[in-house]
């Protein structure tokens, strides 16, 4: 299981009720269910991935986060997780609002467009960056709204969203992001993980 999921799992206490939005093949869900006794639900848009989750005994609803989060009542989950998908929505702001309405807290991870490799790629090659966390070409990427860790940090602050924890990931290294080291983390992390609440 990828390091990102281990970090997310560490942010969640045992016996919680959690919704994994865009749960894919259910790897994180299965881990949370088995190791933390989490009452876990998933929302996933791909039929194939939904089938994979069912074969793992996971409760998943086939659906689209931009349309289908509204069926969940306010604060009906302790945590809502959104892993590396925010940038792929037509309206990320609306999805973020929905995550924070449905969940008492939300854990959002974003691939960092401010990562030095991304910057260097554009600077030196002059073509749209392709990296490990951003593997697609400009013409087939699902990512519509790329942002940097700094962008996201400022964005949530501007929306009066409380940041409980923000973490920078670079391969296996995890470090804490704060106001003073934001510039450095924004350069050296390829993934940002934010625990937030509204």
């Amino acid at each position: 299981m990828k390091n990102e999921f281990k970090v997310i799992a560490d942010l969640i206490e045992k016996d919680m009720k959690v919704l994994d939005v865009g749960c894919a093949d259910g790897t994180l869900m299965r881990f949370l269910k088995d190791n933390k006794n989490i009452n876990i639900r998933g929302l996933e848009i791909s039929k194939e991935k939904v089938q994979e989750c069912i074969s793992k005994g996971l409760t998943v609803i086939e659906g689209n986060a931009e349309k289908d989060l509204k069926q969940f009542p306010d604060k009906s989950f302790d945590y809502v997780v959104l892993s590396q998908t925010l940038q792929a929505f037509l309206n990320p702001e609306l999805v973020l609002d929905e995550l924070l309405r449905v969940g008492k807290k939300a854990i959002v991870t974003i691939p960092n467009f401010g990562y030095w490799k991304v910057r260097f790629h554009l600077l030196l090659k002059g073509t749209m960056p392709v990296t490990k966390t951003l593997p697609d070409e400009w013409y087939n990427t699902p990512n519509l709204h790329m942002c940097t860790i700094k962008d996201f940090f400022h964005f949530v602050k501007s929306k009066d969203i409380k940041i409980f924890k923000s973490l920078a990931l670079n391969n296996l290294n995890t470090s804490i992001i704060n106001e003073s080291n934001l510039g450095v983390k924004n350069l050296f992390a390829d993934l940002g993980i934010f625990l937030i609440e509204k």
Binding site: K47, Q51, I54, S55, G57, T59, V60, E62, Q71, P73
Partner: protein, 371 residues
């Protein structure tokens, strides 16, 4: 249709008050079982059949001599594995495969016909609930069914919230739409317009409204398929002829196919039962039973739901199945949902649709492991 020797029957002694206000008692419920009940009695699955189904879910139906209606899904090593689970299915009341219905006799030994009380989906499941006592089952492992079977699933868990661990409504709705009612009315009108129907008293003189019933079946059959499925299977292909005959015989294969479907149906189904059962479906509106709030129907159950719809089903479309998911989510129920890709229309749940069958199997087996 004298086939009683192959039909297992439970006589329900307890009076059952029907939604129409009448009370029935000492009435028969015809049922069949597959697999065996384990010693803990925790492996029972109650299957509910659709409009024209019966208790003979799988294997050869001893009455029609044809494969059971859910042979693809139920059997040894199949999605609903009879090596593992004890499958019970009963004919709905109002039906014509042995359960109390319009072809039965009233206390004066006169065949009911349309004097049989109008029944509802609620009445059907209340009648079938007696099977649990009969088998000494405190809690079912699962209840499932497609189409009208799915309606019974929803009504059952609403009436008996702690009587099943898992709940699998398939290709169904919580409320019959105007379009659904319209198609059913078309079928009923075809039957009652047949001069042999005689206000439902046809059984007394052995002439059945077969033509009307066949037309009803033909019209309904179209609604079970998809345009794409029909086009791919039949297109404009001609029936055993080189060219159009400029007449009203079945020139096209689709015509011939529908006529065949109509003709085989009248051999196994009773016209009055068709009226009664379609009426029960039309009256079905689970939300209305709870002042318009569907969630309230499920507020008392802790069961795990898994709802399945099909992309090409326009009779009970995905959105109507999703409405059930939404109602369940709004009360924090444990609900999964998948829409299966299939061009086989509403009938997909009865056919060999591998993604559907594997989802059903995985859900059941994984849920059973967690027991």
């Amino acid at each position: 249709m004298n086939t009683e020797k192959n039909i297992k029957t439970l006589i329900v002694k307890k009076p059952l008050k029907l939604d129409c206000g009448k009370t029935i008692k000492d009435f028969p419920i015809a049922y069949e079982t597959y697999g065996s009940l384990n010693s803990k009695k925790d492996n029972a699955i109650l299957v509910f059949h659709a409009l024209t189904g019966d208790q003979f879910v799988t294997g050869i139906n001893p009455v029609t001599k044809k494969e059971g209606w859910w042979s693809y899904a139920v059997g040894s090593n199949k999605a609903i594995d009879t090596n593992k689970y004890f499958v019970i299915c009963s004919n709905v009341i109002g039906g014509c495969m042995g359960s109390y219905g319009p072809s039965h006799k009233d206390p004066d030994q006169k065949i009911f016909g349309t004097n049989f009380p109008v029944i509802t989906i609620n009445d059907m499941v209340n009648a079938q609930y007696n099977l649990l006592d009969h088998f000494g089952i405190d809690k079912l492992f699962s209840i499932t069914g497609g189409s009208m079977g799915g309606m019974q699933v929803l009504q059952f868990i609403s009436n008996f919230p702690d009587k099943s661990k898992t709940v699998i409504p398939i290709a169904t709705t919580s409320s019959h739409s105007a379009q659904n009612i319209a198609f059913n009315e078309l079928g009923r009108q075809a039957i009652t317009a047949d001069s042999n129907w005689k206000d439902g008293n046809y059984t007394s003189n052995e002439t059945n409204p077969g033509k009307g019933l066949a037309v009803a079946r033909m019209a309904a059959h179209i609604t079970y398929l998809s345009k794409k499925g029909l086009q791919e299977k039949f297109g404009r292909k001609l029936q055993e002829r080189e060219d159009l005959k400029f007449g009203f015989d079945a020139d096209f294969q689709i015509e011939s196919y529908l006529r065949y479907q109509g003709s085989v149906f009248v051999d196994r189904f009773d016209a009055n039962s068709y009226l009664y059962i379609t009426r029960a479906m039309d009256y079905f509106d689970l939300a209305k039973q709870f002042n318009g709030d569907l969630s309230e129907a499920f507020i008392n159950t802790k069961a795990k739901f898994f709802i399945i719809s099909f992309t090409s089903d326009w009779l009970y479309p995905t959105q109507e199945n999703k409405d059930i998911v939404i109602a369940l989510n709004s009360i924090g129920a444990d609900v999964g949902f998948v829409e299966i890709e299939s061009d086989k229309g509403h009938d997909s749940f009865l056919l060999d649709v591998p993604d559907f069958l594997s989802a059903l199997k995985n859900f059941l087996d994984k849920s059973y492991e967690e027991n």
